[in-house]
Amino acid sequence: MTSGPRVPRRALGVRVRLVAGNLVLGVDAEGMELADVAKLIYESADGRNSVSDIAGIVAAEYGAEPEEVGEDVTEFLDELAASGVVEWVTEESPR
């Protein structure tokens, strides 16, 4: 999977609360809690940062190389997209 041109954005209409420093998405039994790196990835999905930008943000925060975290970031964003809390502004460009 490429991590270049894809740009994720937090989906609108998802209820978000900051509770004790963590983000809680959704307010029912299906609620999802995001802490630490998961929270940072979600926060960074602002419709402007590409997946590789977000990998760079995470790497900078945790003292790693973007290449080290890129795959995990991509995987997590795909999970968030599958859950409907993130959507893709730009999908993969044709190769």
Binding site: R10, R15, R17, L18, A20, G21
Partner: protein, 270 residues
């Protein structure tokens, strides 16, 4: 500056706020506290502003000239007196000490976490009254006022109003998205505006700037709170709908809803 744009300075405050009340026999012996509330207490008044004073008593105020306002308390009313002095309208509201205690008893952490919808814990007037403890001008019984304000600060009041406002913002955002999808673009604009109002109120309430039921003061409250999450310039640009394209309001609506979500992500709820 032209005459039309000239700023009229409000008349100076009375040297003794309680003198006009004493002169009219409107300050009972059992008063435990008295304080100026509203725009005057915040320094936001103008030459047409009323002077609003709360007097807290142990016995219910009873006169032939007083008027009642219904309250969800025991007794279920507060009484007020109105008079004019130097062309100013004065309104004196008489609260029983027990009524203040009843309102404070509604905002405990136990109540907040009991699952009761935050928007139904206090009536708008109760919320406004308690909020005014935070920004009042004490005239009498300053220790009583400070003690009640301390109870307010330790209570779930802030969380209650923040969660209430965020909930209303979410509801309005959901309306706006649905209306966008169905092509009701004008209604989507109005729903987005409503979402913004509630989200900004939550942001200000989280900073202790209460007063959601008086939106006319939102810009003043915003400047007083000076939140880092959103600049005043950006807030005012959205509030005054400067970026709205009437031919295609969709980008503006989405931008407003994004701001609302950004606020929700950064306002701590307990």
């Amino acid at each position: 500056m032209s005459a039309r744009n000239a700023v009229v300075a409000p008349a100076p405050h009375p040297a003794d706020w309680l003198a006009p009340l004493r002169a009219r026999d409107l300050l009972p012996d059992d008063a435990v506290a008295a304080f100026v509330v509203g725009s005057v207490a915040r320094g936001w008044e103008n030459s047409r502003s009323d002077f609003d004073i709360y007097v807290v008593t142990t016995e219910e105020w009873r006169t032939e000239t007083s008027s009642d306002t219904l309250m969800p308390l025991d007794p279920p009313r507060v009484r007020s007196e109105v008079f004019y002095e130097n062309s100013r309208r004065w309104e004196v509201t008489y609260w029983l000490e027990s009524q203040i205690d009843q309102m404070l008893a509604k905002i405990t952490w136990e109540r907040y976490t009991s699952g009761v919808f935050a928007g139904e814990i206090l009536s708008p007037r109760e919320e406004t009254t308690l909020a005014r403890l935070a920004h009042c001008l004490p005239l009498l019984g300053i220790e009583w006022i400070e003690a009640k304000y301390e109870v307010l600060k330790q209570s779930a009041f802030r969380s209650i109003v923040v969660v209430r406002s965020l909930g209303f913002a979410d509801d309005a955002a959901e309306d706006a998205l649905g209306q966008l999808e169905s092509g009701h673009l004008e209604s989507a604009v109005l729903s987005a505006r409503r979402a913004l109002s509630h989200a900004v109120d939550a942001l200000l309430e989280s900073a202790g700037e209460y007063g959601s039921h008086m939106p006319k003061w939102r810009p003043n409250r915003f400047r007083a709170a000076a939140p880092e999450v959103l600049s005043f310039e950006r807030y005012w640009e959205l509030e005054t709908m400067r970026g709205l394209d009437p031919d295609d309001p969709r980008p503006w609506v989405r931008s407003v809803l994004t701001t609302c979500q950004d606020i929700a992500m950064r306002v701590e709820t307990s």
